[in-house]
């Protein structure tokens, strides 16, 4: 076995003189070609959306479809913003997502603190209680939740859009993992200095946990902003529609051609793409920490 391999290597090194120069170059070029091809396929739907959003009414109805825009005219964007209450939808979604994000940061920080720093009886049971919420699909509880929100008069309100989501088991686990890396001596020192547990949390733990809080913030904002079924059920008033519902309503209206709808789609995607570019690394590092360790 080992002799075979060493023979193999000597024959390889004999050829290496001539191969060394062009072989890596060829290999890399082929790999770049493959990478580019795959990237084009993955990005193609988004490219199409952008292209269509820049076409005029005649171009969008013509065949064959254009693969790239011919001019940079923003008529469709103006139309999407003026003729549909897209700005109002965007505003609603951003308010909803920000409130859920803040709520989750607060409740998850508090709960994670209890799991990480307080050695109490029943901690494992509580942990299972939190864990079990991840096993219960939202769809299994959606009818009673809809009835509850309706009976509270929370339909068409930010209350109905936010309150059911301001607790998160996933976020709690994420923060707990991070809190546990904070040395226990820090807590002892704080207690000796007469620092109460809430002070310790806000003054010492949370500033140290900023990366994990950032991950949770980005994650919960994205999740909420992209919600569909729940806002579809509990909002009927156009003033309270969120943007994901609003944009599909645009499609249902006959008077809007694909170019206007796609301009709307591009506008709706804009906040999440900015968030993706700004918070990408943060999000990935935080989300994968748990997943990779298993």
């Amino acid at each position: 076995m080992s002799t075979g391999i060493s023979q193999n290597r000597t024959s390889q090194s004999r050829n290496q003189g001539t191969r060394r120069r062009w072989r890596p170059l060829l290999r890399d070029s082929l790999l770049y070609l493959l990478l580019t091809l795959v990237a084009v396929i993955v990005i193609f739907p988004l490219w199409s959306a952008l292209t269509i959003s820049l076409l005029d009414d005649q171009q969008v109805a013509s065949y064959p479809p254009l693969l790239a825009p011919t001019s940079l005219q923003l008529t469709n964007f103006v139309r999407a913003l003026e003729q549909a209450p897209l700005l109002r939808y965007l505003f609603n979604s951003i308010v909803q997502s920000s409130l859920v994000m803040l709520g989750q940061l607060v409740t998850a920080s508090l709960a994670a603190y209890a799991f990480a720093f307080i050695d109490f009886k029943g901690r494992n049971v509580m942990f299972l209680v939190f864990l079990s919420t991840l096993m219960i699909p939202w769809e299994a509880t959606i009818i009673p939740n809809y009835l509850t929100v309706r009976s509270l008069g929370w339909t068409d309100s930010y209350m109905g859009l936010t309150i059911p989501f301001v607790a998160t088991a996933f976020g709690t686990f994420l923060l707990r993992q991070f809190f546990r890396t904070i040395p226990g001596e820090l807590q002892d020192a704080a207690t000796i200095d007469g620092c109460g547990s809430l002070r310790f949390l806000t003054a010492i733990v949370l500033p140290l946990a900023r990366p994990a809080l950032g991950t949770l913030a980005v994650y919960s904002f994205l999740q909420t902003y992209n919600q569909y079924l729940w806002p579809l059920l509990i909002t009927n008033d156009q003033q309270m529609r969120t943007v994901q519902i609003g944009i599909t309503l645009l499609q249902d209206e006959e008077r809007f051609a694909f170019n206007t709808v796609m301009a709307g789609v591009v506008l709706v995607l804009l906040p999440t793409f900015i968030l993706f570019i700004v918070g990408n690394r943060q999000l990935i590092r935080g989300l994968t920490a748990g997943a990779v360790k298993g």
Partner: protein
């Protein structure tokens, strides 16, 4: 605020019982109440919007309801009997399972390919990694709208591209046979970003020395993938399998935007059926029974995964 006051409450209570309890016991009670105070905001929300509704879903499924969702009579398991007797529900079940089979393996394999490409040691590779993970930022609603155009029978891009290749056009969303695979295609594209990102992170966690020693032993690229990458990646793949399966069972948006359950119920998956029965047909109890079935299926899937598949996963 709440924390401070309940802390005060805790010390008052334990002061009252001071003579009965040892100092250690008192400390334990105080710790428990303190922890409870910190957990209470989350617990209250979970109680109100997860645990009680789950019980209510089950109770609702044993009732007869009026069109406003109010219980009229207890009917036991009649709603479930109605489900099993209804071909439309059995069709929903079958469609849901097919959708899961179409999407989950495809997503995992495609994402594995993307992650392997993104893990190459090349200049500007981070640009490609970013493109491969881009769909993380795309919502199901916007993705569906984009594909609605791409699928368009006359003006759509997909049929145009097929015609360039000399192929026949495909009816995509309008045919009973192609509608579900078409929705699955959108879903795979949508899930690619998250899957690729997590696989990439998993690959980067594999120690470099393993590949180096494999190279010294003369292992081929394929052998390295089969004997190093894949086994060490198995916890990550397992995690994604759970995530993707649950996401596939819960998919709704794509169906609502693209097909509304049609044509002829060929895309009427379970969650869409629940939505239609209670929101449009006012069949609250009947829909609740369906949602309990969904819950049971997902529970079984999760238990099977953790019980059977996880044992084969290699943890370091």
């Amino acid at each position: 605020m709440t924390v401070n006051s309940s802390q005060g409450l805790a010390s008052q209570k334990s002061a009252g019982r001071a003579r009965l309890l040892s100092p250690a016991q008192r400390r334990q009670i105080r710790k428990f109440l303190l922890a409870l105070a910190y957990l209470s905001p989350s617990l209250l929300i979970f109680l109100a919007f997860v645990f009680i509704p789950l019980v209510r879903s089950f109770i609702l499924s044993t009732q007869l309801t009026d069109p406003l969702g109010r219980s009229v009579a207890f009917v036991g398991l009649t709603q479930y009997q109605r489900l099993w007797a209804n071909p439309q529900f059995l069709n929903s079940l079958q469609r849901t399972l097919l959708f899961v089979i179409y999407t989950v393996p495809t997503t995992l394999v495609a994402a594995l390919g993307l992650a392997l490409l993104g893990n190459l040691r090349l200049r500007n590779i981070s640009l490609f990694r970013m493109i491969f993970s881009l769909t993380i930022a795309v919502s199901a609603a916007t993705a569906s709208l984009i594909f609605l155009y791409l699928f368009h029978p006359a003006l759509g891009m997909f049929n145009y591209l097929l015609s360039l290749l000399g192929l026949q056009s495909v009816p995509w969303l309008t045919d009973v046979r192609t509608a579900l695979p078409s929705v699955a295609l959108v879903t795979v594209w949508l899930q690619l970003g998250l899957n690729t990102v997590i696989l990439l992170a998993g690959m980067q966690g594999i120690p470099e020395e393993l590949y180096e020693s494999a190279m010294i032993d003369g292992a081929s690229g394929g052998a390295k993938f089969l004997h190093i990458t894949l086994p060490l990646l198995s916890p990550t793949i397992f995690f994604l399998l759970v995530v993707d399966l649950l996401a596939a069972f819960q998919a709704f948006t794509q169906f609502h935007v693209l097909t509304k359950g049609g044509p002829i119920n060929s895309t009427n998956v379970l969650v869409f059926s629940i939505y239609r029965e209670f929101y449009f047909n006012g069949q609250y109890a009947y829909a609740a029974a369906q949602s309990i079935v969904l819950f049971a299926i997902m529970l079984i899937v999760t238990i099977v995964q953790f019980g059977v598949i996880e044992r084969r996963v290699v943890y370091e």
